[in-house]
Point group: C2
Chain length 341, copies 2
């Protein structure tokens, strides 16, 4: 049974994330979460595996995450009822080409860097209601594909501003199953509303996305009569250092301080040492942090109950050049045990 | 209760499309379905309403379809629990900026020209299970925004091949409600699987998408033990003249001829007279044909039971230049009354 409280869908008998896997590249292998990845490569162009460009490489990375997830679950791709996937490439092609190889029923989604929470939320809804028995939720990003598409080709050697974030070369995949099965419970889903505080700086995504994270979290707390301290951690992704500081300041002003806030963009890399400016970003960043860090800690009991609120900046290279401000969105998924209040 | 038969979700107590609206531009106003549009403009750049570029104009067009749909339903935007929307612009920005103005909980989707069936299918699933009481499903496309993004700027005056299709300047919006309410029933949803028959001609989308239409329809008929003649019409969208001929030929070979096949790309315009080459296309094409033609006929009883199988070509301008073949997908939604067999 699914209850609706304002924007939040509460699963009385929660579906579960039965298996998960993260895949990443060289920089991710040098970061603090490396040990949590199911698959890491030192050559993220995958030229040794026949990839001719960054776009194909990203598709293969996503495929590796999917394959590792299915392996852990002990099932074949034929047993998946439905897959939700998306990515940052124009026309979501990383996912489209991955799904060409997987051949499952597929619904493509787009939520920029919030995509992992969106796919996870949709998959949880389908698993909770029995509309699909085994559902895949996944997403990816690739630094080199994203730089060329959104900024400049790598060969230009453009300087990055201190507020810029580093698009992760990473993918994450989760397998969801219906209530009563083994895995990490998904307790609720909150689909976000688009926010736009007129930030126009394409090199400051954290500031652009912060209002969306704040809005969705506030709506969630109000709807569920919970407080941040009811959770072991509240994850956003990917606000980076700049956006995270702004979020904590804003939530303080709203009277809902976040003492246990973590941001996926600040977790994937050692921000100070790895030259990633304000932190990680990209649809694969929060996906990888979810699969390499959050879910393992929920499985071992190190975390009991967390919020995963991934954020996305909804502009394009075209709207940016047209001088448009950057709208953003955040979807929130509640994970783990804990009594409903 | 939702039953799963292979890839098809059957709604025992079907949700309904309670209201709908199509919006279109000049060429659409000169086509055979003009009288079915809720909103038609002779100046689709909407410069008179403050739009500075084609991308903003497409967002406004989508907004006009949404507003007309809400007006017909007699509700305000605040009463919508969730909206599914998508479009062809890179990073789905037409929908993102429309949703910025609407401010509803929003899940962005991408299925290229299949997007209307995808949003409709997802919305039906949420309405059928009570996860959302009032759900908006919508999409759009704009000829001028699409030409610049996928082909060349209009100012180049490029010649079009006879197999090319004309991206509709159109949007469609549907409001879905749960079972037992007034409207056109949604009886089932079939999410498609990606097909790729190695078509590489960006000017022959119909041929690229035909295998997806055939695959989804065949899966639907097998799962539901139905035959094409159980339906008043089977709509695909948008295969155009070339893809439609190929589909009928292919289905004949499969032993499942389609005597009642119609294609949205062949319905929106007078193909011979309106200089649209092989017909219409774009995410707004099948959306507009759904809202301006199919749903009104289901409402009056002129159609009793139809299939709406929208098709999408899942490449991008980047993958095309990289020499990739064009994957495609088709999602199918069953509309109207009729006994389940």
């Amino acid at each position: 049974m699914v209850l609706r409280r304002r924007d939040t869908l509460l699963f009385e008998t929660p579906p579960v994330i039965a298996a998960w896997a993260a895949a990443g590249g060289k920089k991710e292998s040098e970061g603090p979460l490396a040990s949590g990845f199911a698959c890491l490569t030192q050559q993220a162009d995958f030229s040794g595996e026949g990839c001719k460009n960054w776009e194909q490489a990203e598709s293969l990375l996503q495929r590796k995450a999917a394959d590792a997830c299915l392996r852990k679950a002990g099932i074949s791709k034929k047993e998946i009822d439905l897959a939700f996937a998306g990515d940052l490439q124009a026309q979501c092609t990383a996912s489209n080409y991955t799904m060409r190889g997987l051949g499952m029923p597929f619904a493509g989604v787009y939520g920029a860097c919030s995509t992992m929470a969106e796919t996870l939320g949709l998959a949880a809804c389908f698993a909770a209601t029995g509309m699909a028995r085994q559902v895949l939720a996944m997403t990816s990003s690739h630094f080199c594909a994203a730089e060329r598409q959104f900024r400049t080709p790598l060969e230009y050697g453009a300087k990055r501003t201190p507020t810029a974030q580093w698009t992760a070369t990473a993918a994450g995949a989760c397998l969801l199953r219906g209530p009563g099965q083994q895995g990490v419970p998904v307790r609720s889903v909150t689909f976000g509303r688009v926010q736009d505080y007129q930030v126009r700086d394409i090199n400051n995504m954290g500031a652009a996305m912060m209002p969306a994270a704040a809005a969705t979290l506030l709506r969630y707390f109000t709807a569920t009569h919970t407080a941040p301290t009811d959770f072991d951690a509240i994850f956003t992704g990917d606000l980076g250092e700049v956006g995270s500081a702004l979020l904590r300041e804003q939530m303080e002003k709203e009277g809902v301080p976040l003492p246990n806030h973590r941001d996926c963009g600040c977790l994937l890399y050692d921000t100070a040492a790895q030259n990633v400016q304000a932190g990680g970003s990209g649809a694969g960043c929060s996906a990888a942090v979810l699969c390499a860090h959050i879910l393992p800690k929920l499985q071992t009991g190190a975390y009991r109950r967390v919020l995963f609120a991934a954020t996305g900046a909804l502009m394009s290279q075209t709207t940016f050049l047209q001088g448009e401000s950057i709208p953003s969105i955040a979807h929130c998924v509640e994970l783990g045990g804990g009594d409903r209040q």
